[in-house]
Amino acid sequence: MITPLQFHLATVFLKIFLRDRQSIVFTLLFPLIFTGVFLFSDGEPDPIKLGLVNQSQSTLAANFSDLVAQEPLFNVTEGGLVELKQELINGDQTALIVIPTNFEDAKEPSKITLLLDAAQVRQADAIAKTLNNSLISIERDIREIEPMFSLEVEDIQARPQRYIDFLLPGILAYMLMNLCIAGSGFNVVEYRRRGILKRLFVTPIQAKDFIVAIILSRMVIILTQISVILGLALMLLNIKIAGSLLSLYGMVILGTFIFLCIGFFLGSLAKTQEAIRPIVALTTFPQLILSGVFFPITSLHELLQPIAQALPLSVVVSGLRGISNDGASLLALNSTALGLVVWMAISFFVAVKYFVWKEVAN
């Protein structure tokens, strides 16, 4: 299937890449930074800085402030009203609660004031709810009643699933798309601009030879990058991959093929070096939003969902996620497999059919 010419050309492209020290440094740096970002954020939000002013001397108030201090969502600083208010204004505190002097076991309900800058605090609701919960549990303690209900969250697939387990396959697919389109689309425009493609196509070479060769060489580079990321994710982020690594790599290879071919098509579409950037952005950015990288496609508007599901990035994301999260095999991903085959056919066809090697107008 792969001719000796295509193979030789692929080794040439690989050589060109391996001799470019700068690009190698960045190629390896990228997965490191990528993993590092997750290592230090690991999906858990930072505790909210909460100032607490206790103006009451009662044991009840002391209990309440203890409970609030134990809440992992908060990072509590106790202090006086004036100084903490100033800190809140300065942005050193996110919110401030004030326990009034009359906060005691009185007959009338006691009022606690929560001070915050709502424009700055996205978590205003969450803070208020958590405080309410603390108040309710204190109240239960005082009235000596047991809670009637408790809510237990259970994953129906019975496996520990964190947001990062959901996110990683999506990010991996998005990264794959960007690496591929940069690897083929931008290269083609540059080679064409410099007349290198024209010189190549004075010989009996055919568009598919050139395309297959770039796909082969890029595949090697991208599989190396993905391996580094996966290796780091498995070791450092404690990511669990439910399916087989073979299926995962198979999926990556198919995705690489599709995105490289799309890159060739975009490279042929773009007449100039300046045009390729917006064309690529226009293709990749909507997919980042629509393809379920950060949140499931089912959370989109109903009208958008069928369109979103048909996008090439969605197909690759759902394939990778199926393998990584649900332990699916590459061969068993029914609708995804169909989408993959269709996109492979479409992208290879348009890449070869519309391949432009002739020099374009200056």
């Binding site: 060109i16 410099r194 004075v202």
Partner: protein, 229 residues
């Protein structure tokens, strides 16, 4: 192109001469299968260029005006690559010897001077041992030493039996190298013959006392024929 018609004999050096924008390169690119021919036809060695482009490409060698190559590849690696494109395995050192670049085998194209680049382009065009060699303004931008050196190379290749088609806007080059010349202007061929016949026919008055050489020969006599690459 505006209804041009010409034929090139096996083993000759044929020159397309004309000012910039006359259509020399477009004509050449039609013969090379790079430009579509929308009316009429062209054939090389009995092969129609429009319908059998792939076969035509196998028997021609082409040096384009823009001669850029992949970065970070040495001359000999590039020659091996071009050989593969024809499913052949030429000896890169032999090819570089033919164009006097054997000591640059491991150099990168970006490290070459203008004249060396042109000679390397010709080496690339020779990997398939072509029947016809197309050269598009091979000496434009070269200094006199490099130019004369390239002329000698073209002569040598022609002596080995290769048919050569070249474009130029240098009259002296056309006169010195070409067996026959077509003068083009605004997409038309306005004259075609041997240089001698064209001079007899069109040069209004032959100079009374024949001048030997010109200012370029003076320049070369003073600065020497040695290459300044």
């Amino acid at each position: 192109m505006d209804g041009i018609s010409f034929s090139i004999k096996i083993g000759e050096i044929y020159g397309l001469l004309g000012p910039n924008g006359a259509g020399k390169t477009s004509t050449l690119e039609m013969l090379e299968g790079l430009n579509d021919i929308d009316g009429g036809s062209a054939s090389i060695d009995g092969l129609d260029v429009s319908t059998r482009t792939h076969e035509v490409k196998k028997i021609i060698g082409v040096q384009l005006q823009a001669n850029e190559y992949f970065d970070r590849m040495s001359l000999s690696e590039l020659l091996v690559l071009f050989g593969k494109l024809y499913a052949q395995s030429p000896n890169p050192i032999e090819l570089l010897k033919r164009v006097n670049l054997e000591d640059k085998a491991s150099a990168k194209p970006a490290e070459l001077s203008g004249g060396q680049k042109q000679r390397f382009s010709i080496a690339c065009a020779l990997v398939n041992d072509p029947k016809v060699l197309f050269l598009d303004e091979p000496t434009t931008g070269l200094d006199p030493q490099a130019k004369r050196n390239l002329w000698q190379l073209v002569r040598d290749l022609n002596d080995s039996g290769m048919t050569i088609v070249l474009t130029t806007h240098n009259m002296e080059e056309a006169e010195y190298l070409c067996d026959r010349i077509a003068i083009m202007d605004q997409g038309k061929i306005i004259a075609e013959d041997t240089p001698q016949n064209l001079i007899l026919e069109h040069a209004s008055e032959p100079p009374k006392a024949k001048l030997h050489g010109n200012i370029e020969d003076v320049f070369l006599a003073l600065t020497g024929h040695e290459l300044r690459d």
